[in-house]
């Protein structure tokens, strides 16, 4: 395998890893937006991009399965609204149980990220000692 091919493969692996990091936090991010306001899909995608300074660009189509799962579990609800003459928008709203679920998720998220940071910092420290 040439140097260029190895470089390309590594780049692909990094993109996949980054994608997985993002996927793990999408549910939490969507709920955090709905805690503030009732929103439809396009607005959520816009807010995610804006608040992350364009760093967290989640393909919008992949948000819907997560929203449907949250709705099936009763954490959010949706309402169809006709916009103009023929366009329908689906607005999502967080429910009381969704707020509780969001707070639980947030706690777990901080616990996990803090422990990952601790492990990584431990490695940094060890490497500094060598």
């Amino acid at each position: 395998m040439s140097f260029q091919q190895r470089k390309k493969e590594r780049r692909i692996l990094i993109i996949k890893a980054r994608d997985n990091f993002k996927k793990g936090s999408v549910e939490l991010i969507l709920l955090s937006l709905l805690v503030e306001n009732e929103l439809y899909g396009y607005q959520m995608a816009q807010l995610i991009s804006k608040r992350s300074d364009g760093e967290f660009n989640l393909p919008e189509g992949s948000m819907y399965p997560i929203l449907y799962k949250l709705e099936d579990n009763g954490y959010i609800s949706s309402e169809r609204k006709l916009v103009g003459k023929r366009m329908t928008r689906v607005y999502y709203r967080i429910e009381k149980s969704g707020k509780e679920y969001f707070n639980n998720l947030l706690d777990e998220y901080y616990k996990v990220t803090n422990s990952v940071i601790k492990i990584l910092k431990y490695n940094d420290k060890k490497m500094g000692e060598v």
Partner: protein, 77 residues
């Protein structure tokens, strides 16, 4: 509407790949269609490739759906 033919194929592809019932498919397509209209309205010069980048390829959307359902649900289908 811009990119009519490409979008028609895009919706058909999503519909054929999604491993879910028709109700979920119709709802997903309704939302994607309406939000693509918003996207095109906000970005009138966008290419079809820009739309795919923003909304995801049919395969990516389908994979995202599969990731959200557990093994038991898949077996039921």
């Amino acid at each position: 509407m811009k990119h009519t033919k490409e979008l028609h194929d895009y919706y058909n592809k999503i519909s054929s790949l999604m491993p879910c019932n028709n109700k979920v498919k119709q709802r997903l397509l309704l939302e994607i269609k309406s939000n693509i209209e918003d996207f095109i309205y906000a970005n009138p010069e966008c290419s079809f490739q820009n739309i795919i980048e923003h909304f995801g390829s049919p395969q990516y959307i389908c994979d995202s759906y599969i990731e959200t359902i557990n093994a038991q649900e898949i077996r039921k289908k």
